[in-house]
Each structure stands twice: as C-alpha cells, then as structure tokens.
Symmetry: C2
Subunit: 157 residues, 2 copies
DNA sequence: CTGAGTTACTTAATATATTAAGTAAAATCT
DNA sequence: AGATTTTACTTAATATATTAAGTAACTCAG
C-alpha cells in the first residue's frame, strides 16, 4: 500500500540513478580499471594500449580490424592509438600480401619485454579481485555478464 | 596433467583477454549502453548528459561537485558538458549564497519535459534487460558488482 | 572486363576522459 | 588578522570515443 517504497523492480518508475545498470557497470569497472591503471601508468601505458599489447601477445601479427574487435576499440580510435604506439616503438605495421586493404600489426621485442614485465603485476591485481569476491562469485559474475551481453547482442545484433 | 587447458583461475597465467574482468565489464556495459544510446541520440543527448539529467531530476539544484560524484564524471569533463547543456537550454547555473566557490545547477523546464518524455523509453530498455536475465539474476548481478566495487574502494579508497 | 556494392581502413569533427596546473573562496592554524 | 591549507571549480594538454565521410582495394554480378 505504501507508495513511498517503490521497490518493485518491474515498476514503471526508473531505478535510482545509483542503482541503474549502466552506472553500476561503470562504477565497478572504474574501480577495477583504476587498479590496473596504477600499474600501467608507471610505464606510460593507457588501459587501451595494454589491451592491445595483451591481444597481440603470442600472435605473429593480427589484422587491425580483428584487433579492434577483440579489444572493443573502434577503428577510428585504433588509428590514433596504433600511431602513437608505433612512434614509441611498441608495434610495427606491415602490409598483408593477400589483401592490399588490410594491415597487420605485431609487437616489437621492446613491447614483448614490457608485457612480460607487467604481467606479474596485473596477475596480482586479479588475485586481489578474487580475494574480494571469492572464486565462486567471481565466476558467477563472469557468467552473468556474458549472459546479459549475449542476450542483448542477439536481441539486436 | 594437460598443460594445454589452463583453466585454473588462480594460476599465475593471465586469463585470455576475452575473459579478463575489465573487458567483460566493458563489453557488457557497451551492449547495455548501446540500447540507451539509440533512445538518447534521437534527442541529441549523450549518455553522460542523460546521467546528469537523471541526477538533477527531482532536485531543486545540486552542486557541481556532488553532481559529478553521483554521475561519476570528473570535474574537468563536467565543465564542458554543463557548458554545452547550458547552451542548449537544458540546465541553468546559479551561485550558491552560502559558498562563493560552489555553483549549483538545475534543470530548465525544457529539460524536465525532455526527461519525462524519455523516461518511458528508458524503462522499456530496463524491461528488456530484466527479460534477458530474469529478476533474480539481475539482482544477483547488482549485488556482485556492488560487492566488488566496495571491496576495491575499501582496499585503497 | 566493367560498374555497383562491400571491406578495411583513415580523416574529420565533436564529445569525454585523464592528469596536471591555475584560481578564487573557505576553512584552519597561529 | 595573516599565512597556510583545503575546497570547488576552470583551463590546458593529450588520449579516446562516437558518428559521418572519404579512399583505395576487393568481390561479384552482368
């Protein structure tokens, strides 16, 4: 009866901003990423650059569009990021024999070494996260995130 | 025995990029936000501007720093966003009697109307999300996100 | 083989994010 | 009260995000 406690999630009212899903995802991601940023900024790397380093690590070369897809970075952003990374000697671009449009990118040895140097610290951050949530809940979180993403993409891929 | 299936989450190896937590949070948020963006871009609003509209809705005026905190937008970004919103007649700034430093912001009537117009569509997106995950799992997701965020902030607030 | 359509980028323009400085007003200390 | 520190912003500089166009290299139908 009390209209002053609108807790019904299926209500036609909007959730409090503090509890909106985009905000919740943003806040959590922000908290997580900040931990990584501490490690990365020491090496003058941005989070996006680290994503690229990680994606390229272990590959002999990836096409920019595949790389962009994996890192969830749009192509116009990739252009600039890769340009800066190339200038710092972290990546090298080379043409694709088979297809004159696509360009491949790979890590330089400097970058490889940098990745190996950073890895253990990043692993440390993951360990902290697992300590906070516990392995089971962490897996649960991954599962929920993936299910929601899949559902949304399917709904309007 | 098989070293080719490194599924141990506590391993000292890095997770596959596809399954890293920042990436999972980013991908899911991206999928969610895209739904909202469809609604918002029709009115020439960005996601951040919508966050501000939502936060100001129902308030007689909020200080910029409080607004920034609630919206998780840093002050330097707020300066520009509010300037653009003011130019479009969505918000108005006015001095704070009690404190010469702080500035308050409130919605114009135009903005109020806009919020009311958009709300039902946003509620529709939430309904879709709840349809995908189910109410129970959705609440579970919120709980996990909040717990992780709280743990991280506490660890080095 | 040719022209329409597609793909893999790059360029441009505008909006944010992030970090570091700068500024004026308040609060605090002495 | 005067000096110091803190607070609430703004400005600046650089890095990304987002959308729209532009370009050259492919694909494919006719």
């Amino acid at each position: 009866m009390s209209a002053s406690t609108p807790k019904d999630p299926s209500s036609r009212l909007l959730r409090d901003l503090t509890h909106s899903l985009p905000m919740a995802l943003l806040r959590t991601r922000e908290a997580v990423v900040q931990r990584f940023r501490i490690v990365l900024s020491r090496r003058g790397l941005t989070e996006q650059q680290w994503r690229i380093l990680r994606a390229l690590d272990g590959h002999k070369g990836l096409e920019i569009s595949l790389l962009a897809e994996q890192c969830r970075i749009l192509l116009p952003s990739m252009t600039g990021i890769l340009r800066r990374m190339e200038q710092r000697g972290l990546v090298r671009r080379y043409a694709n024999q088979a297809d004159g449009r696509s360009i491949r990118v790979r890590l330089t040895e400097t970058a490889q070494a940098l990745v190996e140097e950073i890895k253990p610290e990043v692993v440390g951050v993951y360990a902290e996260i697992e300590r906070i949530l516990g392995q089971r809940k962490l897996e649960q979180l991954y599962a929920l995130l993936e299910k929601l993403e899949a559902g949304l993409l399917e709904g309007q891929g």
